[in-house]
Symmetry: C2
Subunit: 277 residues, 2 copies
Amino acid sequence: MNAAPLTDLSRLCVHTVTTRPWSLEESSEQFARAGVKGITVWRDALAGRDPAQAGQRIRDLGLSIVSLCRGGFFAAATADGRRKAIDENRRAIAEAAALGAPLIVLVCGAVAAQPLAESRKQIAEGIAALLPDCASTGIRLAIEPLHPMYADDRSAVNTLRQANDMVESLRSAHVGVAADVYHLWWDSELEAEIARSGRLGALFAYHVCDWRTPTTDLLNDRGLMGEGCIPLRTIRAWVEAAGFRGYNEVEVFSSRLWATNQSDYLRDITAAYLGHT
Amino acid sequence: MNAAPLTDLSRLCVHTVTTRPWSLEESSEQFARAGVKGITVWRDALAGRDPAQAGQRIRDLGLSIVSLCRGGFFAAATADGRRKAIDENRRAIAEAAALGAPLIVLVCGAVAAQPLAESRKQIAEGIAALLPDCASTGIRLAIEPLHPMYADDRSAVNTLRQANDMVESLRSAHVGVAADVYHLWWDSELEAEIARSGRLGALFAYHVCDWRTPTTDLLNDRGLMGEGCIPLRTIRAWVEAAGFRGYNEVEVFSSRLWATNQSDYLRDITAAYLGHT
């Protein structure tokens, strides 16, 4: 049932937000030195840089750019708000193309004051509006279902089933899903829906971290792999059985871990990757 | 789509935990004085009292005892732990019978160190072990699915679909569900599963509160109805369409609201019940 332990770092990707105190330059240098092979670049880390130059610099270090994080937030109370969101996503697509990131992860958005069904409709419309940009640049979009505790104002897409449904309805080879264990681990339909993502050719990204007990903050108290209760090797087995051969991306938001020495922490990340992922 | 506003308090029940600073005696007196018609008694509020006398005292005030909160926590890492949990639930059933509460709400339990599927199996076995006690006392049990953010150590039952599945598999008129909007509002299958609970004759209880944005604590930052984003009248319409005619139970855990004057707060509760529920 469980996947075999990972024995090398060849499929390890780390998100810049995981070591948030570091700049993009320091993250990429430290990642490369530690043997990490992939990097997912957050847009805040890229701010103020020329994306093409930043991308070249990262590749020169021997790192693959796995994705740009993040687009989305399509749901908005006004038509003007929704247009602005689409424009912002167009800029993200241009940025990804310049950076050399093949994929953008979408946090789809939600508006507390409107029904979730309405937000989901707006999300699907927003993604559909971007498909020409995807076609012209080759950039793909990954719908990331977020944990139901974020349904109020971050994402109206809260299960992999919903994300798969949206992928099916959009019918584009440029649109798939990002499966993040933090958001999905609790779902008894997860194995079946991961398999479905695979059948759809839509399993674009796989994110790992852990769920701590107790969790003291809804946003920034994620655990490093092995610190919590998520059955990481069981879920990785499902993902690999669905045909996924991409990077295992370490995405940890943690005030606790951001406050530690980030070089020591990066060593812990590689150890947790081999020991628990 | 929405239910008509409630125009009187005849179906209003308040949980003792909602006004936690008050004793059971003060809660029941204040509730009765405010025109509340039902009370759900938490076991911690009952501690140290004779349940039969407490029940009589509550009924003498004109209140209906809607349920005893809470049993459950069947999942445990050891067989001894699971036996102890069943024994504790037997005591809860005896307590409910003495109190005169027809129903016990079950928070089913979870163990971070074991797979959710294993916890769910233990939960079903635990409930099954109690069915003779239910038959002899007439006490019913309501499986309350808890929000997925509690899947680590509070409940491995996280959707109404899972609760309905468990009700179907247990095949007992004594076992149903408690639908709490706080746990379930995000689920796109909620309308269908509420209807299914109704068809099963299993919709035993309905709990209301609201989801605040931002939510600052995973446990004790619930909102009063109207303070958040839950579509309360939409969900009540589904519940009533499923045949539910019981109490609308106000169950709010809030450090913020517990810190306020509870008499003023109780006035706010009745106003929020009529204005937003």
